[in-house]
């Protein structure tokens, strides 16, 4: 696994060792802060720094930017809590369990990795049988679908694992309703029954979250399998946080995670994620996961080259970096993401330029360009 690009290192070092930032020159902060902001990790960095450094030891200008990161994260967190409060009465009349996913789940469990994290939208998984009724109930309660083309609507409903995003007046975040965690026609199929069966209730709330192992695997496939990697350092940070939470260093926990990965058919993505976390964050326990892979040569040439390409684009990058090389890498990875998402006959159907563009717009996980 090639090491992270030089351009990302100032950010990685700050995240890995926030205590050391008391020694940073202002010119170094001038690199770190924009990198963090571009990666949507400014709040995460700020949270880590605040945990170990007294703000009086940092320049005022630096504190202002770190605080800005925390403020943005806090705003989205509050909006998520409000959204869940507002839909709870609607949900209660339908069959559950109602399982929070990703950021909303991290917030509900008050995980450390939720602090400073910029939520993009509210993801909720419900039983497929309840989806149609729930959708109608939400529409009656004032929610609406983004104005999407008929093709996109059809795509979402027929082939994807989620409804098109829903919005409501007075809500800043979108609500994404899922019935499983990966597209059902994709190459990796999660064991949805077990996802629901092993979901854990959040005390004091009517919501559930996935089991911790499933949360880890969801974060893993969300990055490795369901995205084109571009600018997804933030997702890797989530995975690193979850690995440490297990903790991945515990052999028994590791074995359970690997077993669970096998159950869902997610061993290869898990291994890929472990390789990345090891290279980018030195996350403890990753080496053991890499070595535990049941087939030592499970990484084909294809897999390795995907990793190399992804390595180039996952970080915030040097914004002025080689246009052609980067664009090519991104093109290959976008194509891979589409390939993984659907069988060949559908890719052919999608072949039309317009359709492909619309598809890429809808399914590539949204850059959080929403400015709260």
């Amino acid at each position: 696994m090639t090491p992270p690009p030089l351009s990302s290192r100032p950010l990685l070092e700050a995240l890995a060792d926030p205590r050391s930032c008391t020694g940073y020159e202002e010119s170094h902060w001038d690199k770190v802060i924009p990198l963090a902001r571009r990666s949507r990790l400014l709040g995460v960095l700020a949270h880590r720094v605040a945990g170990v450094v007294d703000s009086s030891r940092l320049p005022a200008r630096v504190n202002r930017h770190l605080n800005a990161g925390i403020i943005e994260a806090r705003f989205r967190r509050q909006k998520a809590l409000h959204l869940l409060h507002v839909i709870a009465p609607v949900l209660k009349r339908h069959q559950g369990p109602w399982v929070l996913l990703k950021g909303a789940a991290y917030i509900a469990q008050d995980l450390d990795l939720a602090h400073g994290r910029l939520l993009a939208d509210a993801d909720l998984m419900v039983p497929r049988s309840a989806l149609a009724d729930l959708e109608q109930a939400l529409l009656r309660a004032g929610w609406e679908f983004d104005k999407t083309e008929a093709y996109d609507q059809h795509y979402y409903r027929a082939w994807s694992h989620q409804l098109p995003p829903m919005r409501a007046a007075g809500q800043v975040l979108e609500l994404d309703l899922h019935h499983t965690i990966l597209p059902p026609i994709g190459r990796v199929k999660a064991n949805t029954e077990r996802l629901f069966a092993d979901a854990v209730a959040v005390s004091g709330s009517l919501f559930h979250v996935l089991s911790l192992d499933d949360q880890v695997l969801h974060a893993v496939v969300h990055l490795v399998h369901d995205s084109d990697f571009a600018g997804r350092l933030r997702d890797l940070v989530d995975i690193d946080g979850l690995f440490r939470l297990l903790p991945l260093t515990d052999p028994d926990r590791r074995r359970l995670l690997l077993d669970r990965a096998r159950l869902h058919g997610m061993e290869r993505p898990l291994r890929m994620a472990a390789e990345f976390c090891d290279a980018w964050f030195r996350t403890p326990g990753c080496r053991e996961v890499m070595n535990a892979s049941s087939s030592p040569r499970s990484f084909s040439l294809y897999g390795a080259s995907v990793m190399r390409l992804a390595n180039r684009v996952i970080g915030p990058g040097d914004a002025e970096s080689s246009a052609i090389g980067g664009a090519l890498a991104r093109f290959v990875l976008e194509s891979r993401a589409l390939w993984l998402r659907m069988p060949p006959w559908m890719l052919a159907y999608h072949g039309g330029a317009k359709a492909t563009r619309a598809l890429a717009r809808r399914v590539s996980f949204r850059e959080s360009a929403v400015r709260g």
Partner: protein
Amino acid sequence: MRFSDVDAGALLQQLSSSGVGIDFGAARARIQTRLPALAAMIKTVYAGFPVEDPSGMFDLSVAVRRVGGLRSILRPQVELRCDGVREFEPFPLDTPLPLLEWGTNYGLASRLFCYLLLHAGVVERGGRAIVMPAMPGSGKSTLTAALSLRGFRLLSDEFGVVRLQDAALLPMLRPLALKNESIEVIARFAPEAVIGPRFPKTHKGTVAHLAPLTPHVDSRHLPAAPGLVVFPRFVADAGVSLEAVPKGHAFARLAVNSFNYDALGPESFDALGKLVQESSCWQLRYGDLPRAVESLGKLLDTLN
């Protein structure tokens, strides 16, 4: 050394390499460009500002450059990057200064969550501020410009920067963007004012930039206490009339005219509440600019 004093060639060289720093007061930016025309425009509209060393830490780095590629031969364009990221579509090559100014404003507005940023012009006299929220048709920029040219210290034309701890107004001093008729109005109002080139075909009509006065530049780190909140409304051929605005309404109208009020939550609520509590709030209808300036001066003086 100020921009007005530096050698134009040396300035271009500096902008083309590591850039120059500009301190607006509440924030500072690093600017880089290789475009000689833009360098000359910067020298004009930032005349009174000290040229600062580009090393160290900045709140924002802005780079303006020509767009390359085949298309640029047919349609020459210029693009702006904030901290390396291109956030919006390029402008025609002949409008680099409006692009620099709007892009810098955008970069500042999207980064400075440490302050409450109102969309308002702010001036000060006698230690008390006049905050003028920018509604369409308000003539806010014209009024702010006029006040700044008649003895009121300019804090900002675009950003009412409110410090969260105490609701003090902080300067964010930038060239003042004048549009369409107000360019000539201000040129007549103060013939000695330094106004940059006119750009006729922007999406907001004709735009030109008024350089802030040197004494105002030198005071850009001096806060101002709340004084007046004035909602201006330009009505041609009207005289001047002032009407008190209930404070609750003033609060709502200020919050709605803010870049980041929503995101700051309880702190912006408290700061805005304090600002409104400590201000006298008015609606100003005016068609006569000199009389409007005079009325606001008198109103400000009545505050104890």
